[in-house]
Subunit: 284 residues, 2 copies
């Protein structure tokens, strides 16, 4: 990132108080300006629209899996991955002030958050789950409605921002719940400590094409960290593959592997060469 003294703005999807905003602050520090975007589309166009210097997109949750919308929009945009960060996710049952657990009849939140609290709903079968567009936004809604019977599931920060009351902490089924985010910028920012390479490739619909493509890296001892397949609109049952590899463009072997891959397919794009997340890292 540039060493300019001006405050950098990072866009995130969701309402103020969203997990994504927490992740942005964790990665870039409190002095960063956070810009809420209502939709993923707005998030991915925020840099081109000059409402932010960076965009922080959730890409994968350790329980729910990949965030497909981010994968799809990353491809459509011209953004480059320059960093990643990992945020522990913990869900809270939030009501309005004056409410007790016994008052709650409905609980609203993003469907992924609802799904991550199955045990809570199983032990409280009288409570109806209501899908909402957003975790933090659902807290704002119940606080505005001033209805003792309405609860929401979100992070602590959302309760603080909107003045909700935490009725139960840690209601997520699994404690090992993390979300990985990618920091995106208009252009690559090469770094000496880059050790992760993300790319997307569209292979021919031919027997063994994927096996051969992966072999290009395996032969050079480059480890595959993640593979994600996404459908291609208009071409049913053909896929685009997103690969995360334990290497970077600083590694000559990786550059040669990419050259070899380009000779098999024209449809390949490097999404980023960047340092992987290490616990406790902050600020570029």
């Amino acid at each position: 990132m540039s060493s300019s003294a001006s405050i950098k703005r990072v866009a995130f999807q969701g309402e103020p108080g969203a997990f994504s905003e927490e992740a942005a602050i964790q990665l870039l520090g409190k002095e960063t300006g956070t810009v809420p975007c209502r939709t993923f589309e707005a998030l991915f166009s925020s840099v081109a629209d000059d409402i932010a210097d960076y965009a922080l997109a959730p890409i994968e949750n350790s329980l729910a899996g990949s965030v497909h919308k981010s994968y799809d929009l990353l491809l459509e945009s011209h953004l480059q991955v320059i960093r990643e960060t990992i945020l522990p996710v913990s869900h809270n049952l939030i009501g309005i002030h004056g409410a007790a657990l016994e008052d709650i009849e409905t609980v609203e939140s993003h469907p992924v958050a609802l799904a991550q609290c199955e045990k809570f709903f199983r032990t409280h079968p009288q409570i109806l789950r209501v899908p909402a567009l957003d975790t933090a936004g659902s807290v704002r809604e119940i606080v505005l409605a001033r209805d003792l019977s309405r609860g929401a599931i979100a992070g602590k920060r959302a309760a603080e921002i909107y003045g909700g009351k935490i009725l139960l902490e840690h209601i997520e089924d699994h404690k090992e719940n993390y979300t990985r985010f990618l920091l995106l910028a208009a252009s690559p920012e090469p770094r000496d400590d880059a050790d992760k390479l993300s790319l997307v490739v569209h292979l021919e619909h031919k027997a063994g094409a994927l096996q051969r493509a992966l072999d290009v890296f395996a032969q050079r001892g480059i480890s595959l960290l993640k593979i994600e397949s996404r459908p291609i609109a208009g071409h049913p049952w053909e896929y685009r593959f997103y690969l995360d590899l334990q290497t970077s463009l600083n590694d000559r072997e990786a550059v040669r592997a990419l050259e070899e891959l380009r000779s098999c397919t024209s449809d390949i794009r490097v999404l980023g060469s960047y340092p992987s997340y290490k616990t406790g890292t902050r600020q570029p």
Copy 2:
């Protein structure tokens, strides 16, 4: 499937009129008994609970991608894949009788259906999208509410069943919109025309493990049709891989490949060896 003359019951997720019910009838014929299940969990336990002989689960949409809930529950269940079918998906804007397009202020449906009609919402920015648990269920809700301003997005069958009025046809963004379903049974039903093999494998968290596993099939000229990775709860950034291969247990090379794979990992399970979908096939 057994040749018993009794009517077979097939469970599907959703309300009567759901796309899944259409797929069940397409695959097994009109004389089949269709059993609606409110949740995916109920669907996957329907056979063990003896409320159905088969379960039909959506596994993949050609635009939205894999249905992760189905992949996850398939693994937890002891069900075997015995068939597959592919249904073209077309969305309609449905209102109550007496309503016109101009009356509609909110449109409710399953989030995936809402997302597949982006162009419609972009050209009608005054209409608010409301997430619901179900496409067909959202039609039932608006018909029960008798509210001219409420619309729903669902298939034609849902409009017929609940007495809704189709205000606009084919509002999906992409015409090439298909969903693939798996027919699941308590035990395998070996067939001579099986040509597709589905399995799930948990590989060691070691460099090149996936490349080596795929090589077992590539060496034998067995083509990989699909690969899907899913996270493993409690083991962040480790994955389970679901593979669809163009072969079957009738093929000796496939059996040998599985043996070789078992020597590298103990955690491998065959989900099914079954005939792939061919246009126009119906009834076993």
